[in-house]
């Protein structure tokens, strides 16, 4: 059996100073009314103004080379920025995928022209990306996608449909996984490629899918003879599956898999403390003990990612435990405080409770369902 110990990371004095700088900035923004706190703000908090402010601070694309608009800082510095943003419930959905996945994808697999063109815009908080993976008949079984890209003169002609595309109505581009050769039963992961799809291009139709609350962050994206120029192919033709899977490591172990309901937990703890409710607070602190342990894990995985180590199994563990934890926060807190959950309430805790309950089903589905993750883990441990 593989050793499951992860690195123990102690933040440096400089990193703690940096955290304070980020926190003070966010607190000032919150106090000045530039945003209001939401649970699950990385999925539903769209604000291009706020994204641009973060870009001005240099906090998007933090780890990227300076020549592409980044700051060349460490993955742990980025971890600090990310968790500070989520803990305060800041609206980060606009630039989220571009910063987390698309930028790193260009750095790893993109051409020099792509890096020079896209990365500085992303880092400024002006250029947003969505992720075009799922299709109506390809959810957990992603390798069964049908959207096709056919070679034409100077580029590719894309036909098909993507769904559950978060923020497509808001983003400029979508990294889109397409079949570039027919399915091969012997190698299901072959013959797929990634393209930068301009969402304003001719032939792209974006239709909202209302979330169960009526909110709009998902979309259906119809692709009808959309021309994608050759220079918008990402990496190698046929290597799309492997490239996409590498993105997922970044997607599965970050603080957004632990902190989606943190604003609720913090508010509840504050309330219980004021009430001097020792028993209630004790139950809330048991959640904190889980959260603290999960955060240790997640930071350990971030450290491994920085060193280029394989984290596919451990990242899956973080996401499985973390997202169930996010749901448990709402389920536990609702029994500890007197709340009438409502998204329209002027009382912060009622609104955060409503957001946490209503967004809950998504936590364990998006970015790989719990069932898929558990399959990955079990196959990993059985193979060893």
């Amino acid at each position: 059996m593989k050793n499951l110990d992860l690195p123990v990371v102690s933040f440096t004095a400089e990193q703690n100073k940096f955290r304070k700088e980020v926190r003070d900035f966010l607190q000032k923004e919150l106090n000045s009314g530039s945003f209001i706190s939401h649970a699950d703000s990385w999925m539903s908090g769209y604000s291009s103004e706020f994204s641009k402010k973060l870009g001005q601070q240099g906090w998007i694309g933090l780890t990227w080379p300076k020549k592409y608009g980044g700051q060349e800082r460490s993955a742990l510095d980025r971890y600090i920025v990310t968790e500070e943003l989520l803990a305060i419930g800041a609206p980060v959905a606009s630039h989220w995928f571009a910063d987390r996945q698309s930028g790193p994808l260009f750095l790893k697999f993109g051409t020099e022209e792509q890096r020079k063109f896209f990365l500085p815009k992303i880092a400024k908080g002006e250029c947003y990306f969505s992720i075009g993976l799922s299709e109506p008949n390809s959810g957990s079984d992603l390798a069964s996608i049908k959207t096709k890209a056919e070679k034409v003169d100077g580029g590719w002609l894309v036909n098909g449909m993507k769904t559950w595309t978060s923020g497509a109505h808001h983003s400029h581009y979508a990294i889109t996984l397409c079949r570039t050769s027919p399915p091969d039963e012997k190698n299901r992961h072959a013959g797929m490629s990634q393209f930068v799809l301009d969402l304003s291009a001719e032939g792209v139709t974006i239709q909202p899918i209302q979330f169960l609350t009526g909110e709009h962050h998902f979309n259906e994206v119809f692709l009808d003879n959309v021309f994608v120029p050759d220079e918008h192919v990402v990496g190698e033709i046929g290597n799309g599956w492997k490239q996409g899977m590498e993105e997922l490591a970044y997607e599965r172990s970050g603080p957004e898999r632990i902190l989606s309901t943190f604003p609720l937990l913090q508010e509840a703890v504050e309330y219980l403390k004021e009430q001097k409710d020792i028993n209630g607070l004790a139950q809330a602190l048991q959640l904190v003990s889980r959260m603290w342990s999960l955060r240790n894990m997640s930071i350990g995985v971030a450290q491994m990612l920085e060193k280029g180590e394989d984290v596919s199994l451990t990242a899956s563990l973080v996401k499985d435990l973390g997202t169930i934890f996010e749901q448990t926060v709402a389920e536990t807190v609702r029994l500890l405080i007197d709340s009438t959950p409502s998204v329209t309430s002027s009382k912060l805790i009622d609104r955060l409770m409503a957001e946490s309950v209503l967004h809950g089903p998504g936590f364990t589905l998006r970015g790989g369902t719990t069932e898929i993750l558990r399959g990955i883990v079990a196959k990993g441990v059985l193979a060893k």
């Binding site: 059996m1 499951l4 110990d5 992860l6 123990v8 102690s10 933040f11 703690n16 955290r19 968790e83 803990a87 305060i88 943190f262 937990l265 913090q266 703890v269 504050e270 403390k273 001097k276 020792i278 028993n279 607070l281 004790a282 139950q283 602190l285 048991q286 904190v288 003990s289 889980r290 959260m291 603290w292 342990s293 999960l294 955060r295 240790n296 894990m297 350990g300 199994l313 451990t314 563990l317 499985d320 435990l321 069932e371 993750l373 558990r374 399959g375 883990v377 079990a378 196959k379 990993g380 441990v381 059985l382 060893k384």
Partner: protein, 352 residues
């Protein structure tokens, strides 16, 4: 891990792998003393790790001790190695030389020994130890004292795992003549709870690693419906949950141990012990479900670990104990928001 710790871990692993069999654990539960195993552990210097050489110890630090205890938990080593190591550290605080004998410790902040005849309840390994380090009042003053057990009669008792948890009836001990040290009650209580809760946490982590290994093995070997049960998704999900719990337990343990080593441990102790005790119950439950009926039998080894997990999660504060204690501190002495509390890096050299 330091080079020395790697060496210690390697040596401990080899010794325990060779000596601790299911039969040995069974025999211990029936009351036998595992003399061979104990002698090897003593000769290898593993029961005196973390005690300076000048006091007869092996050297190294407490983290080496916790690494040994993690393996002791993994193999369910049926000897008082946890008790002896921690009692040894408490005595070394007062420059008492190590004697390589099995010793236990017993802390009771409510008790006061004030006559030559008294009873200590629930002394781990009481029947087999030569001394008990007593932490509590003697004639109204808070002490750490060494009680020789040759004056004691034993009323047998055991914990959930069948480990000795005996009642010792002392008589004819002249309290003024035994080795004893005046100590600060709160500091000493904190020190004992920190060492013991971390030590038990390490043992639980080791036991969970072993339960995971056993479960992976069983799922690959046991066949039903013509294939290994590990081929079924329902069983795979159990394996995944066991892996996840074990990994998160190690993340809690390792952070707490580093905080201890750096002398800054405060909230890390309750946070880690709560998480590890909580996971202990989950892991034992899931592993039993995965093993089916055979796992419930005495013949199978699973119970030697699951019963230990059920026993140890209660030791030195279960989830409820630490949660309430932390809640009290949080209300009384904390001006931080929850986020500041969680991300607070340097907690100061304060015990909980």
């Amino acid at each position: 891990m330091s080079e020395m710790q790697e060496y210690i871990v390697d040596a401990t692993n080899k010794i325990l792998k060779k000596h601790v069999t299911k039969e040995l654990v069974d025999a211990s539960e029936k009351g036998e003393w595992s003399d061979q195993l104990w002698d090897v552990l003593v000769e290898s210097g593993l029961v005196s790790v973390g005690i300076e050489e000048g006091l007869g110890g092996t050297g190294g630090d407490a983290t080496d001790g916790f690494a040994i205890l993690r393996l002791a938990g993994k193999y369910a080593a049926p000897v008082p190695i946890f008790e002896t190591i921690i009692a040894g550290w408490l005595l070394a605080d007062h420059k008492v030389e190590t004697t390589y004998e099995p010793i236990s410790f017993s802390m009771n902040i409510e008790s006061d020994l004030n006559s030559n005849d008294f009873v200590l309840k629930q002394v781990p390994w009481g029947r087999h130890v030569k001394k008990v380090v007593y932490i509590g009042e003697i004639n109204g003053a808070f002490k750490i004292a060494i009680l020789p057990t040759d004056h004691a009669t034993v009323k047998l008792n055991q914990n959930l795992a069948g480990e000795p948890l005996d009642e010792l009836h002392f008589s004819g001990i002249e309290l003024e003549k035994i080795t004893q040290f005046d100590v600060d009650q709160q500091d000493t209580f904190n020190r004992v709870m920190t060492l013991a809760a971390l030590g038990k946490s390490a043992m639980m982590a080791g036991a969970m690693e072993q339960v995971l290994d056993m479960s992976v093995f069983y799922a690959g070997e046991r066949q039903q419906f013509g294939r290994p049960i590990g081929k079924f998704q329902a069983v795979q999900h159990h394996l995944s949950a066991l892996t996840a719990e074990t990994a998160v337990v190690l993340a809690a343990l390792n952070y707490a141990i580093v905080a201890f080593q750096e002398g800054t441990i405060k909230e890390e102790l309750p946070l880690a012990k709560m998480k590890i005790s909580e996971s202990a119950g989950k892991v034992a439950g899931i592993a039993h479900q995965l093993h089916g009926a055979i796992g419930m039998t005495h013949e199978h080894q699973l119970h030697q670990l699951s019963r230990r997990l059920w026993a140890w999660r209660e030791d030195y504060g279960n989830e409820s104990y630490w949660a309430k204690k932390l809640a009290k501190t949080y209300i009384e002495n904390n001006d931080l928001t929850l986020w500041e509390f969680i991300t607070n890096e340097k907690r100061g050299n304060v015990n909980v």
